[in-house]
């Protein structure tokens, strides 16, 4: 079921009301940015890509099916923008770039203070970057953003069974990486 507020804002956007689209951006900016940040591991790139994803969403707003929820549709656009960016990055990447990747935090931390929480988040962010793209995508969408497999399937164009396999492998790898780095809840 689509959120009635989203449906109303999309209808207003379609009538040329740019401020209504601004309300949608305000509502979803943190989620879209958070997804891209966890996928790319780079806050500046995530910000730029979030902007690009929202502009893409605006230019394609006529293709949005108002009988379906807006959030998965928006995330599918962000996912496509992210896939394009990662493809470009793979083309441009060099061995030097790979060696500058942040290592997984190597100090045992427990999230009791703000500093520890920041360390924990950095540890998770670094570990996520060690997963392959498909594993990272499904882990982030499923366990951080709470999407169901059928929603993720329509977003990324992969069968649910394949997604579950990626999730299973991704969870095992991530748990091992976090354990090795001493990052635990």
């Amino acid at each position: 079921m689509p959120d009635p507020q989203d449906a109303r804002l999309v209808a207003q956007t379609l009538r040329g009301d740019r401020d209504a689209f601004g309300v949608l951006v305000t509502k979803y900016r943190d989620q879209v940015y958070g997804y891209l940040l966890r996928m790319l591991g780079d806050s500046e790139q995530a910000g730029d890509l979030a902007q690009e994803a929202f502009i893409r969403a605006y230019t394609r707003i006529e293709t949005y099916d108002t009988s379906r929820p807006f959030r998965p549709w928006l995330f599918a656009i962000a996912h496509n923008a992210c896939t394009d960016c990662l493809r470009r990055r793979r083309h441009e990447s060099s061995l030097e770039d790979e060696t500058t990747m942040e290592p997984v935090a190597d100090e045992r931390s427990s999230p009791t203070t703000a500093a520890d929480l920041a360390g924990l988040q950095e540890g998770i962010a670094a570990a996520l970057q060690k997963l392959n793209e498909a594993e990272r995508t499904v882990i982030v969408l499923k366990h951080i953003h709470g999407f169901q497999y059928d929603e993720i399937s329509s977003m990324v164009g992969m069968p649910e069974g394949t997604l579950k396999s990626h999730a299973c492998r991704g969870r095992r790898k991530l748990a091992a990486l976090l354990q090795a780095a001493g990052v635990e809840a």
Binding site: G16, R18, F21, G22, V25, T26, R29, D30, Q31, V32, Y33, G34, L37, R38, G47, A50, Q51, F54, I55, Y58, T59, L117, L120, Q121, I124, I139, K142, H143, I144, G146, Y149, K164, A167, C168, R171, R172, L174, A175, A176, L178, Q179, V183, E184, A185
Partner: protein, 176 residues
């Protein structure tokens, strides 16, 4: 009911995917806390998923909304009042119709020179122009009008040249 290690191995992924019911989930967790081998194998995954789900939301840059709104393209026809769009469209159509009329007149005056064929072609272009203008904004409407009239003026010129080169009928033929 107590779960066996084999049952836990089969149920762990559905549990982590949130697809196991409450009773089975409770049995599975009870087994994990009781069985050192299963605990070592699966508890880190459970903790990892708990960690991921408890992460605080990331905060987007403060200027993201402003930057998005600034970067939005103009929707087709947006910002132009409807009367301007329709006015431009009307001018294009009127110009095209006037040209067709002139062309037809030239064809008529030139005793059956390629006026009929030109008229048919011009009518087709007019229809295409109207359809195009209807489906577009003011700029496209003007462009259609200009392109249409430029094409028709070219045809007028060609028609006029053809008419000038036609064989001059003799007085005898005129009499027939």
């Amino acid at each position: 009911m107590s779960m066996s290690c084999e049952q836990v191995a089969r149920a762990i992924d559905p549990y982590l995917d949130g697809e196991l019911d409450e009773t089975l989930s409770a049995d599975l967790m009870a087994h994990l806390h009781r069985c050192p081998e299963c605990s070592e194998s699966y508890l880190p995954q459970v903790k990892t998923v708990d960690l991921l789900q408890s992460l605080p939301a990331a905060e987007a840059p403060v200027d993201l909304v402003a930057n998005v709104l600034q970067g939005l393209p103009e929707p087709p026809g947006a910002g132009e009042p409807a009367h301007i769009v329709w006015g431009a469209f009307g001018l294009g159509v009127a110009g095209a119709l006037a040209t067709v009329a002139v062309l037809w007149l030239i064809g008529l005056l030139s005793h059956g020179l390629p006026g009929t064929a030109l008229l048919e072609w011009a009518a087709l272009k007019t229809v295409l122009g109207v359809v195009g203008a209807l489906s577009s904004g003011v700029v496209k409407a003007l462009l259609y009008g200009l392109a249409l009239n430029a094409g028709l003026l070219l045809l007028i010129g060609l028609g006029y040249l053809a008419w000038r080169r036609r064989p001059i009928p003799s007085p005898a033929m005129m009499a027939i």
